[in-house]
Each structure stands twice: as structure tokens, then as C-alpha cells.
Amino acid sequence: MNNQKKARWSKFLALAAITPLVLTACGGGTTASSGDATTLTLMDYYNNDPDKGLIQSAIDKCATDIGVTITREVVPGKDLIQKVLQKSSSKTLPDILMLDNPDVQEIASTGGLAPLSDFKVDTTGFAQGMLDAGTYDGEVYGLAPTANTLGLFYNKKILADAGLTPPKTWDELKTTAKALTSGSQYGMAFSAVATYEGSWQFLPFMWTNGGSETELDSTQNKEALQLWKDLVDDGSVSKGAINWGQGDVKDQFMAGKAAMMINGPWQIPALNEDASLEWGSVQVPVNKAGQTPIAPLGGEVWTIPQTGDKAKQAKAAEFISCLTAGDTQVTLGAERYTVPTKPELAKEYVEKMPDMAAFTEQIANARSRTGNLGAEWPKAATTIYTAIQLVLTDKATVDEAFAQAAKG
């Protein structure tokens, strides 16, 4: 009898032990509480210093200005979208969300973001390219304090020793790069890797030549592709470029293994760490004299997710206005080597940062990647990098490459 009692007890205990498992499985999905708008949550992907700390001080300053405390969550860049999707299905999106600009339309199309006009955010005075990047269906969803783009970096010492000046046209680029190639030193470096980075590096050549992502199989785009192929076939660019990310390109440049490179201003802090390296930057060369260099716009925009808490959203809007205000733009731009997104600040900024003159000019005409295609951009980007890879590995001719790549 006693034994049976024990057995019954143990059964009960076993059940009790299992119950929490079942309950936790069914739980979760708490909704955001509303009302109190003095604390906001924020998510971004600046997970490395110096950016992490610089953004933190900008956040702190604006938080003080509008009288809120902000809890910041930093995730690694490549995890951000997955994190955003998870949070939108569990309805736990932060009050302020940073997104890489080509992702804004994708996320806005889900209905997860609030149009900034709902909260009377002033969107005038920003560069059109940057506004396009943050716009979906005619509504602006995100603003960026500063932007980056691509330009041509060159090693001043190597060019001076060879008696050469930075190239302005594609023909000059080819001859200069060829002349600078000797031994283990290549004349030029770019990233032709099989990711969006490769497509992004190709865009300045494609767009400057009048090409477009809406019609990839065009003469203009093929000419740009031919240029890259010529540079690799000449031996002026290493075949390794097929597998180099932009960080690798910078490493080659810093090691003196490339005399010129296509890269962005975010590499400048690293370049400056090597005191013996003298570098200069110009706009990306054009095919024919008279063309305007058009480069893609990079940078992160700040958005307001649809959390359902109007009071907090209004505060978030105030925060974004503060973060994208003129003085913040110049401060952040100077600290992070990025260009203010309000063209009226260009002069003041370049006076402060003479190194950034070429990039500031480049930004004025820069275009957003998603301006034309919106959420369809990833498909075009995939086609672009695939076409580059097909041509540089001799798997397709320049003529066939875009058509072949588009078949997926």
C-alpha cells in the first residue's frame, strides 16, 4: 500500500515536471505595453568600434534632447534582417529601427514600418537619391544622417614615381593600371565577389555609362562589363578579385599590391592607421569625357516600426528628426568619414574634411540601388554579380553574360 502511494506521488511529480514544458511551449508573444513614452528601444548593426561608440554618443545626445531614455540593441550586420523578421512576427519590433538603405523598401512593403509623414517629420532638404532609398509607394519611411559611396583611391607615391595622374576616363584607367602593373604589384583592384558587394562595386561603371538595372542586357552595361574584363585580361587586376570582398581589396591596396582601388570612405580610418601610406581619392572614371560619374548611395536609414504605440512612435519620430538634423549630420559625417545627406551642408563639410571632397561630389549625383526596382532589386543584384563572374571566369562572353545570368 505504502509502495502504491509512493508510486502515485512519483506519477504526480513526473506530471508536474512536464507541465512547465508544455506551458512554455504555448506561451510567448507578449504585446508591447503602451502609454509611457519616456523609454524607447532601438536596434542597429553598428557592432564594431569606432562606429559603435560614435553612434552611441549621437544617440545619447538626441535622447537627452527629446527627454527619453533609449535602450539600444546591436546585432551583427548580416543578422539584422533575420532579427527584424523574427521580431515582426512576434510583434516585438523596437521603437526605432536602423536599416541598410537597400532593405528599406523590402521591409516597408511588409507593412511593418510607419510613413514618416504620419508623424510630421520634415523630409525636405535631403539629397534626392537618399530620399528615393527611403521611399516606398510614394511615402518616405526612413532618413539617413550621412551616406557613403564609392570612389577611386590611389597610392600617391606609386603614381608619382611613375609620373602618372589619377585616371579620369576608362581609357586612361586601362593604360594607367597597365603601366602601374609590375611584379607582384597590380595596377588596380576591385571586388567582383559573388555577393551584393560585387554588384555594388560594378554599379558606378554601369550607371556612369548610362546603363540601368531595369534593363540589364543593354549595350551600356555590356561596355562596363567589357572594361572589367579588359582590366583582368590585361593582368592589371588580379584574378583573385573574383573572390575578394571590399575588405580584401583594401588589404591589397594597403599592402602595396594594388596601386589603385575602388572602395568607399568607410575604409579611410583603416587607411590612416598606416602613417606611411599616402593616398588620394577621385571620382570613379567615366567612359567618355563629359559623362557625369554616378555612384551608388550607401548608408543606413532610421525608421519607425509599426509597434501600435502612437505615443512612442511620435517620440521616435522626434528622435529621427534630431539624428538627421544638420549639426548631427556634420558631426557624424566628420567622425565616421561619411557625407551629410543634406546637399546644403556640403560646403561646410568639405571645409572641415578636405579628404572627403571627391566623395562629397560623388554623393551629390549618387543614386540609390532600390530607387527604380524597389523590392525587386535583390534579383537584379544577383544577376549583375553572376554576369560579372561568368565573364571574368570565361564561362560566358560579354554579350551573353547578362542574359545567361538572368536565367538563374
Binding site: 512576427s89 599590391k257 535583390p378
Partner: protein
């Protein structure tokens, strides 16, 4: 396997049940007998675990593969049913058959390489010599290294111009090999790196198997003239067979889904030369945000793994029966 191991337990509990029934007057009988409930309670935690962590994802993935599941779905919860459309998209895509072929080549080549080298190293370490323990521990290093770190390191080792491997080969007069930049060589390079990753797993299991072979067998064999290669063929190999089948089948299941190494080394390039089904699944889901198509790719992978899992279970049953 499971049925065999639980059999004695069932038998003993039936026996004890019989004695308690004799002792006490007849109480609850049939399905709700106390013993049955106790048994069920033992099974429930494992069952729940399986349902939550295996059943749910598999079923969810199956459903997802029949839906137009995009980024929008995460916010609205709406995913229109499209039936087998995603599978049609997958199979008719230009990259499907090349990716399937690459998956097969990758898996077969990796398994052969890992197993042969693993077995050779395991036999080597089976003869104890000074420092053998230390060296064996060192062999485990690739296993301890995060795959992202390993692939980044290998990427710089395999670089065409400045990579240490080509510089090493260059000293023998071998011209620079475009390891990761030529579509003809890239798959081979990825296979070599993955063999390096898989060797510790093979060595560890095979070494364990070798240790279990009684020394007396070799001594007896030696008397009959079976030494060296003969001893391996007639003593080591037959005794090692159960371990070999486990190593090979698990190896296939692990290798077929390899993703991080390929992403880290080539990201599917150059010119799609290292695309596998796993890479397609990842890129469709997390690069193109076509989660339905990505799920369809991964279900095809699950199906292939399932075939090998069934072979594994059958082989195991036969081994037990023997």
C-alpha cells in the same frame, strides 16, 4: 534498435505487474493499468522533445514549401497556398541540376577523402608511440575551430597571388593554382577544406573502433602468419565494420548539408561553380527572401538525408541481428 533495448524492461515490468496483481485484488486493468501509465510517463518527455524540436520544424518546413512565404508573411501572417509551385520553380531553375550534381560530387569526394585519411590516421595512432596522445589531441583542433574562422583562414591560404599554399607550391616550380577563382578548381578546393574539417570526426570514431578489437585476435593471427596488410584485411576490417557503417552514414548526413564552409570560401561562386542544394536553400531564403522556395530546396535535402537515415537504420538492424 529501440525495440530490442526496451524489450527486457517490458518483460520485467510485466512480470512485476503479474506479481502485484496476485498480491492485491484486481484494480484498474487494461490500458490504464498503473504500469502502463508509468511506462507512458517515461516516454512522454522524449516524445514531447521530438515533437517540439523535430516534428514542428519539419512539418512547418513542409507547409512553408507549399506557400508563397515572403518577408510580408512575417508581419501579416498571411502566406497564400501555392501547392507544388515552389517545387516546380526549384526543379525548373537553371541552377538546380548543377547544384544537385555539385552536392553529389562534394558529398562523395568528401566522404571518401575523410574516411581514407581518417582510417589511415586512426591505424597509425593505434600503435602507441611517444607523443601519440598529444598528437591525437592536436588532430582534434579543426573540430574545435569555429567554421567561420576556419573558412576565413583557408580563404587567405588559398588566395591565388599571396596565398601561402601557392607560394609553397611555387618553390617546387608549380605555377599558381587559381584555387577559389577558377570554376574548374573551386569545387575541388572546397572539397579539400571540408575533408580537413571532417578528419577529426572520422579519426575519433575509427580510433575508438580499433581500440575495441581484442589484442588476442592479432596475436592469434600472427601465429597463423597474418601480419601487416593481411591482419588488417582479415582481422581489423571485419571487426571494424559496424563502426565503419556508422561513420559513413553519419558522414553523408553531415556532409550533404554543409553550408558555412562553402559560404565562407566562395559563396557559391565563382560563376556558380560551388552551388549546392544547401547553398541554394540558404540564398533563396535569406538573400532573396523567397522563404517558400528556400524551404522546397531544403525539403529535397531532407528527403535525400532520409534515404541514408533509413539505410543506416537497416544496416544497424542487420548488425544487431547478426
Amino acid at each position: 534498435m529501440t525495440s530490442l533495448s526496451t524489450d527486457p524492461a517490458v518483460a520485467s515490468s510485466q512480470r512485476s505487474g503479474a506479481t502485484s496483481e496476485q498480491g492485491a485484488p484486481k484494480r484498474r486493468q487494461g490500458f490504464w493499468a498503473r504500469e502502463n501509465i508509468t511506462k507512458i510517463l517515461f516516454v512522454v518527455p522524449a516524445g514531447l522533445y521530438l515533437v517540439l524540436f523535430f516534428g514542428y520544424p519539419v512539418v512547418k518546413n513542409l507547409i512553408m514549401s507549399m506557400q508563397d512565404y515572403t518577408t510580408k508573411t512575417f508581419f501579416t501572417g498571411e502566406a497564400p497556398w501555392v501547392g507544388f509551385q515552389n517545387y516546380v520553380t526549384v526543379v525548373s531553375s537553371n541552377l538546380f541540376w548543377p547544384a544537385l550534381l555539385n552536392t553529389a560530387l562534394f558529398t562523395v569526394a568528401c566522404i571518401i577523402g575523410q574516411f581514407v585519411i581518417g582510417l589511415a590516421l586512426a591505424s597509425f595512432f593505434n600503435r602507441h608511440f611517444p607523443l601519440s596522445r598529444f598528437l591525437r589531441a592536436m588532430l582534434l583542433l579543426p573540430w574545435l575551430l569555429p567554421l567561420i574562422v576556419a573558412s576565413a583562414t583557408w580563404r587567405s591560404i588559398l588566395d591565388q597571388d599571396s596565398g601561402i599554399l601557392n607560394q609553397f607550391l611555387g618553390t617546387f616550380g608549380i605555377p599558381a593554382i587559381p584555387w577559389l577563382t577558377s570554376p574548374d578548381v573551386a569545387l575541388l578546393a572546397v572539397i579539400l577544406v571540408n575533408i580537413w574539417v571532417g578528419i577529426p570526426f572520422n579519426v575519433t570514431l575509427l580510433y575508438g573502433g580499433l581500440q575495441d578489437i581484442p589484442e588476442e585476435l592479432y596475436e592469434a593471427g600472427e601465429l597463423d602468419g597474418a601480419t601487416g596488410w593481411k591482419a588488417f584485411r582479415h582481422i581489423t576490417w571485419p571487426n571494424l565494420r559496424p563502426v565503419v557503417s556508422v561513420v559513413l552514414i553519419l558522414g553523408v548526413v553531415y556532409t550533404i548539408k554543409v553550408l558555412d564552409i562553402i559560404l565562407g570560401l566562395t559563396n557559391g561562386g565563382p560563376a556558380n561553380a560551388t552551388q549546392t542544394i544547401a547553398v541554394r536553400s540558404y540564398q533563396e531564403s535569406f538573400v532573396n527572401f523567397e522563404f517558400g522556395v528556400g524551404a522546397a530546396f531544403s525539403n529535397i535535402l531532407i528527403l535525400i538525408s532520409l534515404v541514408f537515415a533509413v539505410i543506416y537504420l537497416r544496416a544497424n538492424r542487420r548488425a544487431v541481428d547478426e
